[in-house]
Each structure stands twice: as C-alpha cells, then as structure tokens.
C-alpha cells in the first residue's frame, strides 16, 4: 500500500481522505462533473435525436445542441485533468476479471466519446459550411475547410457514435445500479456521495486513519 508514492508531491495530501492509500470515493470535482455531465449528455442524446426527427422543434433544439456540445467539450477537458491527477477508488477486490475489464474499457470509451462527439460535431458543421452558433450573434470559427465528402463521413460518424455513446451510457447506468442493488458494494456510493455511511466501511475508514496515524 505505497500508492501515495505515485501521487506528485506538490498536491499529495489535498485532504485527509486522499492521503489514504486507496480513496474510498471520487473527489468532489469528479462527482460534480460526473452528475452534471451525465444529465447534459443524456439531454444531448435526446435533443440530438429529437432535432433530426422533428419538423417543428429543430430550430429550438439545434440552438441548444451546439452550445451544450461545446460546454461538454470544455467540461470533459477539466474532467480528464482531474481524473489523471486524482486516482479513483479501486474496484472491489472480488469483482470478476471480465467485469473489471468491462468497467475499465467502458470508462475509457466514455471518455473517448465525450471528446469525440463535440469535436466531430464542430468539425462536421465546419466542413458542411455551417456556422457553429453558440448564441445569437456569436459563432465559433470553422476548424476544417468546407468539403462535401468529409462532411458526409463526419455526419454519419456523428450519428453512429451518438448511438454507441447512448448504448455505453445505458450499460454504464445498468452496471452502476447492478453494483448498488445486486452486488451492494461501494462502487455506486463512491460516485454518489462524498462520505461513507454504512457501519462496515466506517470501521474500515477508522482503521485506515489509525494506520495513517501510525
């Protein structure tokens, strides 16, 4: 248990929990980003499918979709930095290897898609000759030159990756609830709250504190 050695010295003991060898939960920044982005991403998926399938709601939904997408892009940058600087709590030791793999792979897939979707969206609008409107009177610059073929590729990619993101989000949700309701381990709690309430883990927390004091 000398994982603290991996944490750069300048921000090692941010608080008493992080000074523990294994954090018991995600830090405050991670939890706020997780839940706000969960809401935003789910909203984006519904706004996205809604705006391409409605003859009346497209103008309203597209004016929401573009700034929200850029907001997610900015937030995922902050989130990745936070994730790389703060070790997440470990998965339960008794978790089957295949579930460990699924958990790790799906999290990196989620990160990849959180970056890819807004970037592809921005790129797609650029190569399609469309303005990327943030609000009335302000548009982002194009990040690629106008091109029909590249537009078609990016436009298709935006749809298919959105469906992949939707499927991954649903699997993530199902797995989180599986941890909470079926396995009843601390995985869901590690993102849901910043303190641990059940007696067993409180005891362990005390043990950690004791060992840290030694």
């Amino acid at each position: 248990m000398n994982d603290t050695a991996n944490v750069p010295e300048n921000h090692a003991p941010l608080n008493h929990v992080e000074s523990c060898p294994d954090p018991r939960h995600f830090n405050f920044t991670a939890r706020v980003l997780h839940w706000s982005m969960a809401l935003m991403i789910l909203a984006m998926l519904f706004v996205g499918i809604g705006m391409v399938s409605s003859l009346s709601l497209r103008p309203a939904l597209i004016s929401l979709h573009q700034p929200l997408g850029i907001a997610i892009l900015l937030l995922v940058i902050v989130r990745l930095i936070n994730r790389l600087r703060h070790r997440p709590p470990p998965l339960p030791a008794d978790l089957p290897a295949v579930q460990v793999f699924a958990a790790k792979a799906s999290h990196w897939l989620l990160y990849a898609l959180m970056f890819a979707m807004p970037l592809i969206g921005w790129c797609m609008l650029s190569v399609g000759g469309y303005p990327v409107t943030m609000f009335n009177g302000f548009a982002l610059p194009a990040i690629a030159p106008h091109n029909a073929t590249v537009y078609a590729v990016f436009r298709s990619a935006h749809t298919w990756l959105a469906l992949l993101l939707f499927a991954t989000v649903l699997m993530h949700l199902a797995a989180a609830l599986f941890h909470a309701w079926v396995r009843r381990d601390d995985v869901f709690a590690s993102m849901a709250r910043g303190y641990v309430t059940n007696a067993k883990t409180l005891g362990e927390e005390k043990e950690h504190e004791n060992s840290a004091n030694e």
């Binding site: 519904f46 497209r58 303005p131 078609a152 609830l177």
Partner: protein
C-alpha cells in the same frame, strides 16, 4: 464483505431478480423514450426523413447528388449593398451602408436537374451572405408571393398528391383534385400560377421570403416582416407561344448573356406586419398598404455551373440568421429547415459515396433524363 452476516445475504440472494428487473425496466424505459423521440415507434408520424422520401417519390426518381427540390439551378456571386434604411428595423450588419458578399443560387422549382425552364412556374433565388462581423444570413426565396398551402401537413399532402402514377408517369388527377378540395387555400395559388404573367428571365423576376421573420433593432424593438427582392431589370412578359419556343435552358443562357453585359440588381423591400396580419400562415398575404422599407440592393456579378460552383455544397437553410433576425412562429419555416437538412445530408452522402458523378460534373455523359 466477509463481515456481512448470512441473514441479509440470503435475503438479498432471494430478491436478486427484483433489482435486476428494476434495472431492466429503467434501461428499457430510456430506450423506449429515445425510440419514441426518434419516431421509430410511430411510422405514421411525419418526420424530416419521411417528408424528404415523399419529395423523392414525387420526383419520380432520385437524382443522386442533386438537391431533392429545386434541383436545377446555377451558382451566382455578388454582393448586397445596404442603404442604411434597414438599421432602424434590425441590427443585422447587412443593413449598414456596407457591401456584404454572397454566394447565391438561381433555380427553378421541381426535383429534376434536367427540368425544363419553360415549364417551371416557380423560380427561386437563394443567398448566403457573409457579413464582415462574421455572421451569416441565408435566404431561400421564391417567385410566388404567398405559399400554396397553410400548414406543414398540407404541404406534405400536396407533395404526395403530385407523385407520378406508375401507370401514366404523371400525377393522378383524382388525387390532385382531392388535395385541392381538401385545401381551399390552394385555389388562390393555382389562380396565381395560371394567370400571373411569366417573365422572360431570372433577372426580371421578384423573389419573396414568403415566410415571416422577426427583425429586432439594437433598442430591442421587434417587428414581424416579410421581404421581397424586386428586380431593377424591367419586367417583360413572356407569351405562351414564346415559352413554347424557348430553349429548355433558356434561363441559364439568358442569365449568362445578361451578366456578360454587367451586374444585375434587385431592391430588397421589407414589409412590416400590422397587428392582426398572419404570422404563422404563409398562404395569407398581407394587405398592400403595409409599411414598406427599401433597405438595400442585391447585386449579382457572375455565375458558374452548379456542378462546380460554390453554391453546390451550401444548404440554403432559411433559419441560418444573423443577430437582429429571427425566424417567426411560422411552422413552415421550421419544416423547411428540417427537410433541407435531410436533403443536404443525402446529396453530400451521394457525392461522398461516388454516386453523384453528374452532380459534381465528372460524368462523361448526362444520365438519362426521365
């Protein structure tokens, strides 16, 4: 884990199916909601894709890489010159006394890129104006002064009624008659189409916004408006005999000949709604005595074929608007925006997948005209 007692363990094991069912239910509910929003559960709901399918069907065939509507046209370029009169109405940069360059397109109605100019009742002007403040205004205007029908559903029914009967290759007269009977407002459009004199050129035709927009000025005052590009080129009527004798591509030939002698101009005339004027129904014209303001001129300087011109890969979505201009509550506007987007996606996809050699001017011979 090893600390937990056996009693809750047994209990939880017995009830494992319940949380699993709950998880399955939650995930299924979200998937169903998504599928419903997407329209996958409601095959009869009109969506942009289904509307575009109806347009393709009414065209008789899909012309790969071409616009699904107003497929035949020519790219133009020029500038808009504001005269300052529009500044009181809208904060759009266009209306200042500056020149705003545009990439435009003149076209005829119909879904065939080989449509006959002398049979096309509807002519159009589309502009993408790029202001020096980085804002963009796209307009898609038509020669008819009011829309044929008053609702999106009626527009769809009109499109469906005009689909060629496989037996005759022409629209079924019974269906067309049934459509007209169900939509009395269409009679006014039919009357316009039949009795309004044809002009001899794209240059001496007026192009109208048809739909209503909302202008807002820096003081925050708002006005519902429609506008019209009124030609400075004198109107010359074309008799039925002249039309019969005219070349299939006479509009393009005429435009090129005129541009060889100098630029072509239109005045942009903005009409301001009075209380009570219909905002949501583009088939209803506003009374003639409404206040009108001439805000500047459209000047076309050059043209190029649409297979290679800059207008080819532009979606003239009438809801891409600068600050100071917004769409109105007119539902046809939102529907046009949605359907144009599908049409654009399909033709760009045609080009990307190599199915559109004719549309991008790389075919050795024209595909057969229907």
């Amino acid at each position: 884990m090893q600390n937990t007692t056996s009693t809750p363990d047994l209990l939880s094991r017995r009830l494992t199916w319940l949380p699993l069912l709950a998880i399955g239910f939650i995930v299924a509910a979200i998937v169903l909601a998504f599928a419903w929003v997407a329209g996958w559960l409601t095959p009869d709901r009109l969506t942009p894709a289904r509307f575009t399918n109806a347009i393709e069907t009414s065209n008789g065939q899909v012309h790969r890489g071409f616009r699904r509507a107003h497929a035949k046209g020519v790219c133009v370029a020029g500038y808009f010159e504001g005269n300052g009169q529009g500044v009181e109405l809208s904060s759009a940069r266009l209306f200042s006394t500056v020149r705003t360059p545009f990439i435009g397109r003149m076209s005829i109605g119909g879904g065939s890129p080989y449509g006959l100019d002398n049979k096309a009742r509807v002519r159009s002007m589309a502009l993408q104006l790029n202001s020096d403040d980085g804002q963009q205004w796209r307009m898609a205007m038509n020669s008819f002064p009011f829309f044929a029908v008053s609702s999106v559903e009626a527009f769809y029914e009109q499109t469906a009624a005009n689909a060629p009967d496989p037996a005759t290759g022409k629209p079924d007269p019974a269906k067309v008659a049934a459509f007209a009977a169900a939509h009395p407002e269409f009679a006014r459009f039919a009357e316009w189409a039949k009795n309004t004199p044809w002009s001899t050129s794209w240059a001496n035709t007026a192009y109208n916004s048809v739909n209503t927009f909302r202008f807002s000025n820096p003081a925050g005052e708002q006005h519902h408006v429609r506008w019209s590009m009124q030609p400075q080129t004198a109107f010359v009527a074309m008799s039925p005999e002249e039309r019969e004798a005219a070349d299939d591509n006479f509009l393009t030939e005429d435009l090129m000949a005129r541009l060889a002698h100098g630029p072509l101009r239109w005045d942009m005339v903005v009409t301001i709604a009075a209380p009570g004027d219909s905002i949501t129904d583009p088939s209803k014209i506003w009374p003639e005595d409404r206040r009108k303001v001439t805000v500047g001129s459209v000047v076309i300087e050059s043209s190029s074929p649409q297979t290679s011109g800059a207008c080819r890969d532009i979606n003239y979505d009438p809801l891409i608007l600068p600050k100071g201009v917004d769409g109105s509550e007119d539902p046809l506007l939102a529907a046009r925006s949605a359907v144009y987007s599908v049409s654009f996606n399909r033709r760009q996809y045609d080009i990307a997948t190599g199915k559109a050699d004719t549309a991008i001017g790389q075919a050795s011979s024209q595909e057969t005209s229907p």
